[in-house]
């Protein structure tokens, strides 16, 4: 039916390696401004920790060997407190901690101060996918940004708390229902990088991934041009319905190829008799589809007990629900 089905990203990217060729022993590839600073902080703390770890474990092992109880060994007396020593080993950690705090504080504040004139992208988190809304008015399942320019993400959640994490950019922030949260970054490398959800959000939490694609400014403009597709780009209700299916996170849980994902397959919904979890049966019709979108857990098909879908109340207009119904009906007309 639709020819331009490539315009939305797939939410499952677990097969995508995190640029395994360039990550270091501890840290993933460094692909944004400020990431090197975070790595410097990490390495500094690592060096301090390694020093004290080796010192203390080394001394402990030496003491255990040297002062172990054995025939012919008599311990020499030693004091059991020393103000000088105790002050020293309190003050040195205080100084080191003070430095760590200052470093963490100053780089954190840089990362929290939004630059003016940045690219703006809105991010919507929903169980269990990410949707990116571009200023040109279209949505996409992938985050595309130009290299070398700041991008500000304004994030919101439609259901529970999620967390938006790009390891390669060393950035992370929770996406909270009922409020907007913002992060920004300046990518420094062209390429594809992993996005994770890092706040536990239910069954497919580990599948709530996406990718960020960093382009040269020219490629970015071309990508926007090519993907500037909105619901108005389609003429028939069926095509508009498929567009909504592709872009409004439905496909995160529902296949249209007859097999079950987390939810029932949508091509097997309209005009088919369903066995329900309460033992009754019903034939999928317009009212069933509408109710399942607005009040998803009112009627459940058998075998889907305990899996709760987020309501789309307030997300879809009546018109849009009609498009989705038209799309679901289209599978019976083929």
């Amino acid at each position: 039916m639709m020819t331009q089905a490539t315009y939305v990203g797939d939410s499952q990217h677990l097969d995508m390696p995190l640029d395994a060729t360039t990550h270091s022993f501890w840290m993933p590839v460094d692909a944004a401004e400020g990431a090197a600073k975070v790595d410097f902080g990490f390495n500094f703390i690592l060096a301090v920790c390694t020093f004290f770890f080796v010192l203390i474990v080394g001394l402990a092992i030496a003491f255990v060997i040297k002062y172990r109880k054995r025939p012919g060994y008599t311990p020499k007396p030693s004091p059991h407190h020393s103000l000088k020593l105790e002050v020293t080993w309190s003050v040195i950690p205080i100084v080191l901690c003070g430095f760590m705090f200052w470093f963490g504080f100053s780089s954190y504040m840089t990362g929290r101060t939004m630059p003016p004139n940045a690219n703006q992208v809105s991010v919507r988190g929903q169980k269990w996918s990410w949707t990116f809304e571009y200023p040109a008015g279209f949505n996409n399942g992938e985050l595309h940004v130009p290299v070398g320019e700041p991008t500000v993400l304004t994030m919101r959640s439609d259901d529970v708390i999620h967390s938006f994490f790009i390891p390669a950019f060393r950035t992370k922030l929770d996406v909270v229902p009922g409020r907007y949260t913002k992060v920004w970054f300046v990518p420094t490398k062209v390429g594809e990088f992993q996005i994770f959800c890092t706040e536990y959000c239910g069954d497919l939490h580990s599948g709530m991934t996406a990718k960020v694609v960093v382009h040269t400014p020219e490629d970015y403009a071309a990508w926007v041009e090519k993907n500037n597709i909105t619901i108005d780009s389609f003429n028939t209700p069926e095509a508009k319905g498929e567009f909504l299916y592709q872009t409004e996170t439905c496909k995160g849980c529902h296949f249209v190829n007859g097999t079950r994902l987390l939810g029932p397959p949508l091509d097997q919904t309209y005009g088919i008799e369903h066995e329900m979890s309460d033992g009754s049966t019903l034939v999928g019709d317009e009212n069933y589809i509408r109710e399942s979108i607005l009040n998803p857990n009112a009627k459940r098909q058998k075998g889907f007990e305990g899996i709760n879908m987020t309501s789309f109340q307030g997300r879809f207009t009546d018109q849009e629900i009609d498009y989705i119904i038209a799309y679901l009906k289209s599978f019976r007309n083929q």
Binding site: M16, P17, L18, F25, M27, P28, K37, V38, G41, F42, I45, V48, C49, F53, I56, V57, A60, F63, V64, Y67, K69, Y73, P75, P77, S78, H80, H81, L85, E86, S90, P93, C97, M100, F101, F103, G104, F105, Y108, R112, S163, F165, P167, R170, K172, L173, D174, V176, P177, G178, R179, T198, E199, Y200, C201, D203, L204, H205, N297, G306, N308
Partner: protein, 573 residues
């Protein structure tokens, strides 16, 4: 003060043959209604042991599932329930009550030379509250299909099921048990010290329990308040946490960590306290910097209550709040560092005995160092933003909560087992268990630091292939750790099949009061006169070949008698 139970039919200090607390009145019924703090401690030990087994089975299930990417053993939904159950059971039923309720209950009065805790009936009530809370909690977890993680974050946790409310109610009942135990311990320490034992002659284990009790009494009620708010929201329709009703989900996180961060110190303080005892005793040397260790326990209890906001660095709390909490968080590093340096210096010029408890204590030092030092990464704001909610955090808190607390628990068990049960566990299997657990633990959790800083998020059922080698190592380590613990606990339990007795009063040379009574102690702990000394003055003991253990020297006895006489004449004024 202590209610002497007249129904036991045994008066304190009765002459004749020695009857220990295990033999006083046998039979299950007598155990279940006992007011003896030692028996209550043993019952706690059995109960937390069973909880640990349950939590451990879930842990192994999780690790087996994560051994390879994709579905290995169970579905995503089952995995989510598994990690919830693992965390909830381990935290609320094992680590929090573990050392204070089991070892603390047994040892606190004996270390004070007291016949029992201040309120023995309240003590038994605490145990049954714990049992009721624990059973309620486990049933809820099983039937409610709770899959929220042990943190129950809103709005995920309140979006559909009522499981969260019941689970919090379970934690609430457990909380009361904790509060009552805390009150009991505080009162006991204040009111039941023997003459000559001021606060700065208390054993450090008692200091640790005291600091723990203060947190129990002050922080636990917040958990109760949170539950009441959840109920008001669920049944009263008040929008408190649910954004759909105008509430704020992040508020819940503040409430939760306001209790649960101090709870971390509630877990680690008694563990540190055990280590202070073991290291000093087995070094045959006075603990270094006694006063600093005692104060650092109080400092940790105090600072630990002011740092909960570091769990919310990426939660959308204000930047200023995050900065303040980052600064406060560094304050807990200092008393922790002080303790480690003091233990290290205690070893210096000691006469170190390497028995099983000391093996566990040295392993503790190693693991706590890693756990504590990696906390610095998490306290540093910009670095934590990257590490937050990754396996780096999982590794960090397992080094503290398992590596440290569990190893200290085993150190304490091996240390006090002869006193508690009148049997000494064989050294060979004990040391083997320590070695296996140590190797297994590090193999299981060190790779998690690396995969965490490489970006692997926690609570993930599935993962990218690049993390696979770390997960594989982690699972292999977990299995070795499981075998190590099994040998360690089995070695202790097998001693119970042997006939009790023949164990000297003081097999290790400890200078605290519990080593002056028989092993195991009689019903009211002391049938003989005991002598109060500096709890870490190792010169009061000498090894006696005939006894096979340590006995007080004549000089120490004479000094104690002189001090008693002086107090008597002083007290008559």
């Amino acid at each position: 003060m202590t209610q002497v139970d007249s129904t036991t039919g045994l008066s304190h200090g009765s002459g004749g043959g020695h009857v220990d607390y295990l033999d006083v009145k046998k039979g299950l019924k007598n155990w279940l209604v006992t007011l003896d703090h030692k028996r209550i401690g043993v019952m706690y030990l059995i109960a937390v042991g069973l909880s640990f087994t349950l939590g451990g089975i879930y842990a192994l299930g999780l690790r087996l599932e994560l051994m390879t990417p994709g579905e290995t053993l169970m579905t995503a939904a089952t995995y989510n329930k598994f990690f919830t159950l693992h965390g909830a059971v381990m935290v609320f039923l094992f680590i929090v009550p573990g050392i204070p309720a089991a070892l603390g209950n047994f040892m606190l009065p004996v270390m004070l030379g007291a016949p029992d805790v201040a309120f023995p009936r309240l003590n038994l009530a605490s145990f049954y509250l714990w049992l009721a809370g624990g059973v309620f909690f486990v049933i809820t977890l099983f039937t409610g299909g709770l899959d929220t993680g042990w943190t129950f974050y809103t709005p995920y946790s309140v979006s559909d099921a009522t499981g969260t409310i019941y689970a919090t109610a379970g934690a609430f009942i457990l909380g009361f048990s904790s509060i009552f135990t805390g009150l009991n311990f505080i009162t006991t320490v204040h009111k039941m010290r023997p003459p000559g034992m001021g606060f700065f002659r208390l054993p450090l284990f008692v200091w640790g329990l005291y600091a723990t009790a203060v947190i129990q009494v002050l922080a636990t009620p917040v958990l109760g308040i949170t539950l009441l708010l959840l109920m008001l929201e669920k049944f009263g329709g008040w929008g408190i946490f649910d954004p759909g009703m105008g509430g704020d989900p992040v508020l819940y996180q503040h409430f939760f960590w306001f209790y649960s961060h101090p709870a971390v110190y509630l877990m680690i303080l008694p563990a540190m306290a055990v280590i202070s005892e073991v290291i000093s005793t087995f070094s045959r040397k006075h603990i270094f910097g006694y006063t600093m260790i005692a104060y650092s326990s109080i400092a940790l209890a105090l600072f630990g209550s002011l740092v909960w906001g570091h769990h919310l660095f990426v939660s959308s709390q204000s930047d200023l709040t995050s900065v303040i909490f980052s600064a406060l968080t560094f304050s807990v590093a200092i008393p922790s560092a002080v303790k480690v340096f003091n233990w290290l210096t205690t070893l210096y010029r000691g006469e170190i005995r390497l028995d099983t408890p000391m093996w566990y204590a040295l392993a503790f030092m190693f693991l706590f160092l890693i756990g504590g030092l990696t906390g610095l990464f998490c306290a540093t704001l910009a670095v934590d933003v990257h590490l937050h909610d990754t396996y780096f955090i999982v590794a960090h808190f397992h080094y503290v909560m398992v590596g440290s607390v569990m190893f200290a628990f085993l150190a304490g068990l091996y240390y006090w087992w002869p006193k508690m049960f009148g049997r000494i566990a064989p050294e060979g299997p004990g040391k083997l268990s320590c070695l296996l657990s140590f190797v297994g633990f590090n193999t299981a959790f060190f790779p998690q630091f690396i995969m965490g800083s490489l970006g692997m998020p926690r609570r993930y059922y599935d993962y990218a292939p690049m993390y696979a080698p770390y997960h594989m190592a982690s699972t292999i380590g977990a299995l070795i750790l499981g075998v190590g613990i099994l040998i360690g606990v089995g070695n202790l339990l097998l001693t119970l099949r042997r006939k009790k007795g023949g164990v000297p009063d003081n097999p290790w040379g400890g200078a605290t009061l519990e080593w002056q009574t028989s092993s195991p102690p009689p019903l009211y702990n002391f049938e003989r006169e005991f002598h109060v000394f500096d709890p870490y003055d190792m010169t009061i003991n000498r090894f006696d070949e005939a006894v096979g253990g340590y006995v007080l020297t004549d000089e120490a006895l004479a000094a104690s008698k002189a001090a008693k006489a002086a107090r008597k004449s002083g007290g008559a004024q």
